[in-house]
């Protein structure tokens, strides 16, 4: 290349030109047509193959109707069904994460049978026939020997077609044991509160016209009732111009609810019911109580019963034992605040006091006191917020199961029932044999009350065959021998009875998607097991069951398929006037319209729970009793036993020295379905940036005293157990107390939820409220010390 001459340059140019043209034209002909490899994907039939289908959300037991967006057979998006009376188009965070749960990479792909004993976590995948055979053999033996009653099922979804099918199937083998564990409702407290309402019937909260919510420790905005429904009512209430909804949160820790409350009343943990009693006293003293309501209450003043014995009245008790001054000393809430709150509650148009579902449960009488406030403010003609909706007239699937033999009898003969796991724990503590030889568990949420080392978990270990229907590895599969994975709610035909909003509704849907994995709905599996064991449950396919149940709604000549709020209002007036005008002619058309619109609702106003016209727990002269009312009195309990009072911290165990424990439940992780949802695990507590594992909260002063800092690890120990969790230092915790998170159903396997081991429920294992049987850590003291870095 030393010296270029023009000739060299020309030669190069000519050669290139000739070569290029040859390359462009000739070569492909020589090599033969080479199809563009990337072009073999199927061309579509023009439309983007996108459709929408209705489904029922399986995130919790509320039963919101949802609209699924399906593109080319893939579930891609989820929205609330605008016609749903609960969410009206909105969804809570858990509902929005249902798509994530549906495609959970750790979802169980098919029936599993344990390989070896329960300690080793090894499973073999089997076909459905083998899985069913493994269970139906045992079931057949039980049925053969007339001991069909020794089969039980504990479900986590609300009452609905699946629960009815399982009930009907077990009834066919003679077992009454189908129990519902409802993560949303305080299972133990609810019946007790209903007792206060004077009627053993479901009761709910109609928050539409509420202008004041006084919450004594209830996580109102964190997964209480149906989060979508509560959020909607709260949002509407707060955006109203007149009678704007105010929220007063009485809690020792600044929870997300307290953060948004109009007022956050900082009280000593566990003393919330005392405030209710003091406020009741103020209401009565200052005459802020409706005269007719006061007249309808028996027991306010001292009175004589039919046998002539004189009983103490409630007012003297309130004036003497629960005056604002004594309560202020006990709770740490200034007297002026107690008086102001009482007057606020007394003068509000439509107030409601709420006390259930506190992790450190307020105890039976605390709930009695809370509902005493509601009873005192009930006014004639007002809709009131605590309501007792009628039963949902779905047709029962054949004969209802026998009642006797149910194990949820309470220790005291009252209408209240005891949580099923507490009752099972009772078998263990009394050394009796477990009542079941076969136990079906719907999923981890059905075991949300069970903690390792609890009497109930020990009993569970003794049950010979435990079958789990979970769709993902969780607490129930850890205890099970056979896993028959359930399909997602979007793959089933089902209906769910809604009792979250206090109104009467049923969400229903056809299968929106074909089963993604080799799974079947328990509503098919249990009847199939019963058939293979020799009995015939006379149940059709899922769709037939749903249509059969929905038929009852048509025959009850009430309610309508989901419709716009205008149509609901119009239909309500028609029904009030005694007319019923279904949009469809025949029952079949009615059922189709219910399935197409997402469900059925009876738009009529639910009857108020407390109202002078309808006294509760009527005595001889037709007057109601002060909550917790008559049933306790009927058993001749001592006066101060049935009057609302505060179970002082003294009588709940764990009075050792140390800091007061403030257990709280993480709202988004409560509910059913797969716990392995990264979006929710990251949303556990945005304000302290905690997630994916339980955490404790300490006040900066305590943290400095203990020499720990945010992000480090602390060990918290009580008599019942100890836990090592990561720490968050925040001003939102009362000095001298330690807040500890728990989300019982969240624990389990799965790549995202694997580090959510036990939280505060481990410390409270084995401590139950005397009457309600709910786990309570009220007034419990724990030792807290820094965990050296690098330790376990």
């Amino acid at each position: 290349m030393s010296n270029w001459r023009r000739r060299d340059f020309l030669g190069l140019v000519a050669g290139s030109a000739v070569g290029f043209t040859l390359g462009k034209l000739g070569l492909p002909a020589l090599l033969g047509a080479r199809p563009d490899p990337a072009s073999t994907t199927r061309s579509h039939d023009g439309l983007d193959a996108e459709r929408e289908a209705l489904g029922v959300c399986g995130g919790c037991s509320a039963g919101c109707s949802v609209k699924l967006r399906i593109v080319e057979g893939r579930l891609v998006g989820l929205r609330g069904n605008p016609l749903c009376p609960l969410g009206a188009g909105g969804l809570c965070a858990r509902g929005a994460s249902e798509v994530e749960a549906y495609y959970d990479p750790d979802r169980i792909v098919g029936p599993l049978v344990r390989d070896g004993d329960r300690a080793k976590d090894r499973w073999n995948r089997v076909t459905w026939d083998e899985g069913l055979a493994r269970v139906s053999q045992q079931l057949g033996r039980l049925v053969g020997s007339r001991r069909g009653a020794r089969v039980g099922a504990i479900l986590s979804s609300a009452r609905g077609s699946m629960g009815a099918a399982v009930e009907r199937a077990l009834a066919a083998v003679g077992s009454p044991h189908v129990y519902h564990v409802d993560a949303l409702r305080d299972e133990a407290a609810a019946p007790f509160a209903a007792l206060a309402v004077g009627a053993d019937r479901r009761f709910g909260y109609d928050l539409e016209t509420t202008d004041l919510v006084l919450s004594l420790g209830t996580p109102v905005l964190e997964g209480w009732l149906s989060p979508a429904y509560v959020a909607r009512r709260f949002g509407q209430g707060r955006q109203r111009t007149e009678a704007r909804l105010r929220l007063v949160q009485v809690e020792s820790r600044m929870s997300p609810t307290a953060m948004r409350a109009d007022e956050w009343i900082r009280c000593v943990p566990g003393t919330e019911p005392l405030l209710a009693l003091a406020m009741a006293g103020v209401l009565l003293r200052e005459g802020l109580v409706d005269a007719s309501a006061q007249a309808a209450l028996v027991g306010l003043a001292p009175w004589k019963d039919a046998a002539g014995r004189l009983h103490r009245g409630l007012r003297p008790l309130l004036d003497y034992a629960y005056s604002p001054v004594t309560v202020s000393r006990e709770t740490g809430v200034p007297v002026v605040d107690i008086l102001r709150l009482a007057r606020m509650f007394g003068t509000a148009q439509n107030p409601v006091a709420v006390g259930e579902q506190t992790a450190g449960s307020a105890g039976a009488f605390g709930l009695g006191a809370v509902h005493l406030l509601n009873a005192l403010r009930a006014r004639s003609g007002s809709r009131g917020c605590v309501v007792t909706p009628d039963t949902i007239p779905v047709t029962a699937l054949g004969a209802s199961a026998p009642v006797e033999g149910r194990i949820d009898r309470p220790p005291i003969a009252s209408v209240a029932s005891t949580p099923v796991w507490r009752a099972l724990g009772g078998f263990e503590t009394e050394g009796r044999e477990p009542p079941f030889d076969i136990l079906f568990l719907e999923d981890g949420a059905a075991m949300s009350d069970v903690v390792a080392g609890d009497p109930a978990s020990r009993l569970l270990g003794k049950i010979p065959l435990v079958v789990s229907f979970a769709s993902a590895l969780d607490a129930s599969t850890a205890a099970a021998d056979v896993v028959l994975p359930s399909t997602s709610y979007f793959e089933q035909a089902l209906d769910v009875e809604i009792d979250a909003g206090g109104f009467v509704a049923v969400a229903a849907a056809r299968p929106a998607l074909p089963p993604l994995l080799d799974a079947r709905s328990p509503a098919q599996v249990v009847p199939e097991l019963v058939r293979r064991s020799g009995r015939e449950p006379q149940l059709g396919t899922e769709e037939q069951m749903v249509r059969y149940r929905l038929g009852g709604l048509y025959r009850a000549r009430r309610g309508m398929a989901y419709g716009t709020p205008f149509r609901r209002g119009w239909m309500a007036q028609m029904e009030e006037a005694g007319w019923w005008t279904p949009a469809s002619i025949s029952e079949g058309q009615f059922i189709d319209s219910v399935l197409e619109r997402g469900g059925w609702v009876d738009p009529r106003m639910p009857r108020p729970g407390f109202s002078p016209e309808k006294p509760y727990g009527v005595d001889a002269r037709g007057r109601g009793f002060v909550p917790p009312a008559k049933a306790l009195f009927a058993q001749g309990a001592e006066d101060d036993a049935w009057l609302p009072h505060n179970e002082s911290a003294g009588d709940s165990p764990g009075t050792a020295q140390g800091m007061l424990l403030v257990p709280f439940t993480v709202g988004v992780l409560r509910g059913r379905g797969s716990p392995n949802r990264p979006s929710l695990l990251a949303l556990a507590a945005p304000h302290v940036r905690a997630g994916f594992h339980p955490w404790a909260e300490l006040n900066p002063k305590d943290a400095k005293r203990l020499g720990v800092e945010s992000g480090g690890k602390v060990r918290i120990a009580s008599e019942h157990g100890n836990v090592v969790v990561s720490l968050r230092v925040t001003e939102g915790v009362r000095p001298g107390t330690v807040a500890l998170a728990n989300a019982p159903a969240a624990g389990g396997a799965g790549r995202y939820a694997k580090s959510w081991k036990a939280g505060s429920e481990r410390l409270m294992a084995g401590i139950y409220g005397r009457l309600t049987g709910a786990r309570t850590g009220r007034g419990m003291r724990v030792q807290v010390e820094a965990e050296p870095k690098g330790a376990a």
Binding site: L12, F20, P28, P35, D36
Partner: protein, 166 residues
């Protein structure tokens, strides 16, 4: 004598260009079943078969199944494989056509917007397909952003990035 080095240069130039030419010659794609637009179109609008163009982003192509509607026997002289495909089509099983135009995943392009709202004629982008007797073997051009921008500027339509990027 043009000298040793010049000869070398032409040779190298030739071989180099040969490779470039071969490599850059567009690949071409043939379809699993012959189709002649000329025989079918005769003035009918493209959207008759590519209905998607009127209703949504993708134009789409009718399946072989639709052909079995009119043709009793597979038209032309089908090879064995094509005959088998035809039997399946008669049984309703669709035969996937090969895609010519590749739309990158970050682009939102909707036929309806261009055909129905803008009233463009299909040939403005796809060229004169109506007269072809064989299926087109390659896209009229590999559509690049430049082509869209040129047309949008010309038609004074928005060239806002978020209009097409997603």
């Amino acid at each position: 004598m043009i000298g040793r080095s010049a000869a070398w240069l032409t040779g190298i130039g030739f071989v180099f260009a040969l490779g470039v030419g071969a490599y850059s010659s567009e690949r071409y794609t043939d379809q699993p079943f012959p189709f002649s637009h000329a025989a079918h179109v005769r003035g009918a609008s493209c959207a008759l078969c590519h209905q998607g163009a009127r209703t949504g982003p993708r134009a789409g192509i009718l399946d072989l199944v639709a052909c079995t509607g009119c043709h009793a026997v597979p038209p032309g002289n089908p090879s064995g494989e094509q005959r088998a495909a035809w039997q399946k089509a008669e049984a309703g099983v669709a035969l996937p056509w090969n895609r010519l135009y590749r739309l990158p995943p970050h682009v939102y392009f909707s036929h309806r917007r261009h055909v129905v709202l803008a009233g463009l004629d299909c040939s403005s982008c796809h060229g004169d397909i109506a007269q072809r007797t064989t299926a087109p073997i390659r896209p009229r051009q590999i559509v690049k952003m430049r082509d869209c921008i040129v047309c949008h500027d010309h038609e004074k339509v928005t060239v806002d990035c978020t209009g097409c990027h997603r």
